[in-house]
Amino acid sequence: MNTSTPTWTDVGHLDDLPKPGGRKLRTAAGDIALFRTSDDEVFALADKCPHRGGPLSQGMVYGRRVQCCMHGYNIDLASGVAVAPDAGQATPYAVKVADGRIYVDLASATAGCACAGI
């Protein structure tokens, strides 16, 4: 994650997300997938599977993972890293929930994701 002070953008309410499930967030810099687990944890990843670019936001969320709806890659929500034996990483974004609102640090994608995408 970025070490500088995060800039938080309000992107919606926790209840805008299915539980457990994901939803696409459109931004000028590209689509972000927002996820909510059955424990109400929220995660954000670039909406692009490291396998063949499928929209992760459309996948099935289980535990702290999402399975891509295209070819079944399993991605760890916190890190964006594909679950072994698959390899690759979807770029993670910093995200927080306060008073039911979801905030994403849209600039946080630049760090820690040198291996993102293919």
Binding site: V11, R23, D31, Q58, Y62, G72
Partner: protein, 814 residues
């Protein structure tokens, strides 16, 4: 009060029987098992690998003691049953334990034939039958020491090879003039002898043992011709005989083995027997496949179903010596009325012989190249006519073009770069590398590590073959019922049973009751559970959209670019100007083409997710509804025009096609379910590759089931013939319902019928009218809750925003 079932014999056949029984009638019996050996059930076939050091004992365990506990079975391991009191229905063990039974299963196996030889009692003279003996051998088996194996049959040679791998100097003594004379002819036996000698074994043929010498422990083996061979270990493997002692003593009819009929019942109707101890129609069995069949038949009988019968099967043998490929099956000796096709290539060490009678394959003997064994075996079992294949028969299935790609290509001969898995671009070399470097043993492991065969699955057979030839004898396809997924230890059948018996109507209830290991389940089990509860309790279960696979959740097919295709119903494949106009206008408005699908429907592709509800609304406003082209559900009914238009037509196939689609739409099924209706046997609707097909004939309709034409091609099986269209619908409803109740999630009807058996399905649907009507009734009762058009719900009535709209940020901060 449960009935009491006692199993004597805790070996592979007996325990397989219990597994089969538990799968179909888990609560029918209180089960007690007597086993001579002091542990659970292990894979005796792999003993030779434990001996050779290629496996540990733990690797061979099939059912640890915990399995017995989990299934409520009392295991009396290490307690030998010594008598049966059939009058009182009791089994008595050597330690005095007495157990009552209502039904008794004998699976006492076989014991090694003893040689009455002087010195046979000496220490380190062993047979090769159980793990205790293997452990004995391993205590003596040190490099440089001498071992003599008496008996050059399958078991003797595997023992010899194992001891040689341990560094011993091994001599094999065989009474006959060729090795494995029951499985091999002279040329193949000669090749085998040469291979063994190249591996350092010494083979003495026509060698009669006169006695074993030594004081206290063995020191040598003396032959009739006067020679004496030094020996620190002697393994006697001269054959096995059915272990009938217990049965015989208690007055149960035995000849060579315990006599059973085709339901595996002995002369005492309360006593059944299976496995190596059994004799059926004069034949005894020592290989695992027919024994497992017996186990299945016996389970079917004791579960009370009572329709399965044991039939003689083709016997096949494979030698498990690394690097020696040897396979023999059926009658390979030929004789009067038989023809022989032979190919010999001594330089490459290849010998193949096929024996044909009346244009059917009667036997096969393969040495050095066993690539096509399963192809030959299938033809023998099915009694296929091979006259047209004769030219290339010896060269195998890949010869002369592999039409249909369904078969086993000559994988061993293919270069490493050859692409095996087309979906994921995985080569043969990559698979072999993963198997050897990562120590993979199962198909699942290969799938997880390489993705090969993990997508469409059409290359599964090839991947299994690569596993088989990479691992040699170490690979045995797991025939066990596997857990549904990693979140549970329960199999599909067990989960379904719990849902029915415990009246579980939601995924949460199933997970709680069966103590799921993960809180949310996983993408494998959640959709399966959702289907199972809906199929079992259609009036009560509530659909969980978040447990649906993506396409079913959004009611459209996602495409590679993330857009969706919309496929409305055209009943029976018939459309009209009005519907065409509606579709045309939508296509024009969105600037997209229209594709005719394989199921005779119109697909509107490239629709964005957020536009789906409004497209559906437009369709619904014009009385067009969802075609369910995205679902594990009843899909379209393909039809030809039938006798109303066609000069050949014998029946109104179009009318029935429309009627069928209107009757059956909306039903969820374990996997997609396609139907076809043809008006005459020319079969223009291709009904004989559908899950359910009706083909019109002059006198009525032929009903065909369980076809598929996708990743694999399987023509349908003819179920029966009926006179009227109403009966076709009744059979379709019954077939659909049986499949819905018993098919595993993600199992096409074609795979299900191969698992359940056509005979079983016929029994349930054709032979038993009451049952057919009951199935159909259950189907139609469920339809009342199923026929809801999701597009109307979401289009006309409005979709929830989080279902189809995305979130957007008006003002970008970054």
């Amino acid at each position: 009060m449960k009935e009491k079932l006692v199993l004597v014999g805790n070996g592979m056949a007996g325990v397989r029987f219990l597994e089969e029984l538990l799968a179909v009638a888990a609560d029918k019996y209180d089960i007690t098992v007597f086993g001579d050996e002091p542990h659970g059930n292990y894979n005796r076939i792999l003993l030779s690998h434990v001996l050779s050091g290629e496996k540990q004992f733990d690797d061979t365990v099939l059912n640890p003691e915990s399995w017995y506990i989990d299934n409520g079975i009392t295991l009396l391991a290490g307690r030998k049953a010594v008598a049966i009191n059939r009058g009182r229905r009791q089994v008595i063990a050597a330690d005095g334990t007495i157990v009552d039974y209502d039904r008794l299963m004998l699976a006492t196996g076989a014991k090694p034939l003893a040689l009455q030889l002087p010195g046979g009692h000496l220490r380190n003279v062993l047979t090769f039958r159980n793990i205790a003996e293997v452990e004995e051998m391993l205590r003596v088996a040190k490099p440089g020491r001498n071992a003599v194996v008496i008996g050059g049959g399958l078991l003797g040679l595997e023992a010899a090879w194992g001891l040689a791998r341990r560094g011993m100097n091994v001599s094999v003594l065989h009474l006959m003039d060729r090795l494995m004379e029951r499985q091999l002819d002279a040329p193949a036996a000669g090749l085998l002898k040469r291979s063994l000698e190249e591996r350092g074994l010494s083979v003495l043929l026509s060698a009669e043992t006169q006695g074993i010498v030594g004081s206290g422990k063995v020191e040598g083996v003396r032959l009739r011709d006067g020679r004496t061979l030094a020996a620190d270990l002697v393994v006697v493997a001269v054959g096995i005989q059915p272990n009938t002692e217990l049965a015989r003593q208690s007055g149960i009819q035995c000849e060579r083995g315990i006599l059973v009929n085709e339901t595996m019942q002995t002369f005492d109707p309360r006593v059944y027997a299976i496995g190596e101890c059994v004799e059926h129609k004069g034949q005894t069995y020592g290989l695992v496949a027919p024994l497992f069949k017996q186990a299945k038949v016996a389970a079917n009988q004791l579960a009370g179903a009572g329709f399965a019968r044991f039939e003689d099967s083709v016997m096949a043998t494979k030698l498990k010596i690394t690097g020696i490929d040897l396979y023999s099956a059926g009658n390979f000796t030929g004789g009067e009325g038989f023809e022989e096709l032979v190919m010999e290539d001594p330089a490459r060490g290849i010998y193949k012989k096929l024996v044909i009678r009346d244009n059917k394959l009667a036997g096969a003997l393969l040495y050095g190249d066993t690539e096509n064994e399963s192809w030959y075996y299938d033809m023998m079992r099915d009694g296929s006519n091979v006259s047209e294949l004769r030219d290339g028969l010896l060269f195998g299935k890949g010869h002369g073009g592999d039409a249909g790609h369904s078969g086993h290509m000559a994988l061993a001969a293919m270069p490493d770069e050859t692409e095996v898995c087309g979906c994921n671009g995985i080569s043969k070399g990559a698979i072999i590398k993963a198997i050897t470097e990562k120590g993979l043993f199962t198909l699942e492991e290969v799938r997880a590590h390489t993705k090969a065969s993990a997508s469409c699955g059409s290359c599964t057979g090839k991947v299994e073959q690569i596993l088989a030839f990479t691992l040699g004898g170490d690979y045995s396809a797991a025939p066990k019922e596997k857990p549904l997924c990693e979140c549970t230890d329960h199999s599909h059948a067990q989960v379904r049973q719990a849902i029915r018996e415990q009246h579980l109507t939601s995924i949460r209830e199933v997970m709680n009751f069966l103590e799921w290991k993960t809180p949310d389940g996983c993408p494998k089990c959640r959709p399966a559970l959702n289907f199972y509860v809906i199929a079992s309790w259609p009036a009560e279960a509530k659909d969980d959209p978040l447990a649906r696979v993506h396409n079913e959740r959004v009611h459209a097919n996602i495409q590679q670019d993330g857009s969706y295709s919309v496929v409305p119903r055209c009943w029976g494949g018939l459309t009209n100007a009005k519907e065409l106009r509606v579709v045309a206008e939508i296509a024009e408005r969105h600037g997209v083409p229209v594709k005719i699908t394989g199921g005779q429907r119109l697909a509107i592709p490239f629709i964005k997710k957020e536009d789906l509800p409004k497209v559906w609304k437009e369709l619904a406003d014009n009385d067009m509804m969802s075609g369910f082209a995205y679902g594990k559900a009843v899909r379209s009914v393909k039809s030809c025009v039938g006798k109303g238009l066609c000069r050949w037509g014998t029946q109104d196939s179009l009318g029935l096609g429309i009627d069928m689609e209107k009757t059956f739409w909306g039903a969820w099924t374990p996997h997609k379910f396609k139907m076809g209706v043809s008006g005459c046997p020319r079969n223009c609707a291709e009904s004989t590759i559908k899950d359910f097909g009706a083909v019109g004939v002059d006198s009525g309709w032929e009903i065909h089931v369980a076809g598929t034409c996708g990743v694999r091609v399987r023509p349908t099986d003819l179920l029966t013939k009926v006179a009227t269209a109403e009966e076709v619908k009744e059979y379709a409803a019954a077939f659909l319902q049986l499949y819905r109740e018993e098919g595993h999630y993600m199992e096409r009807s074609s795979a299900w019928i191969e698992r359940a058996g056509l005979g079983y399905v016929k029994h349930k649907i054709v032979e038993c009218e009451t049952n057919r009507k009951a199935l159909a009734e259950r189907f139609f009762a469920a339809q009342k809750h199923a026929q809801v058009d999701p597009w109307v719900e979401r289009g006309a009535q409005g979709a929830l925003p989080e279902e189809y709209a995305m979130l957007e940020i008006a003002d970008m901060a970054a």
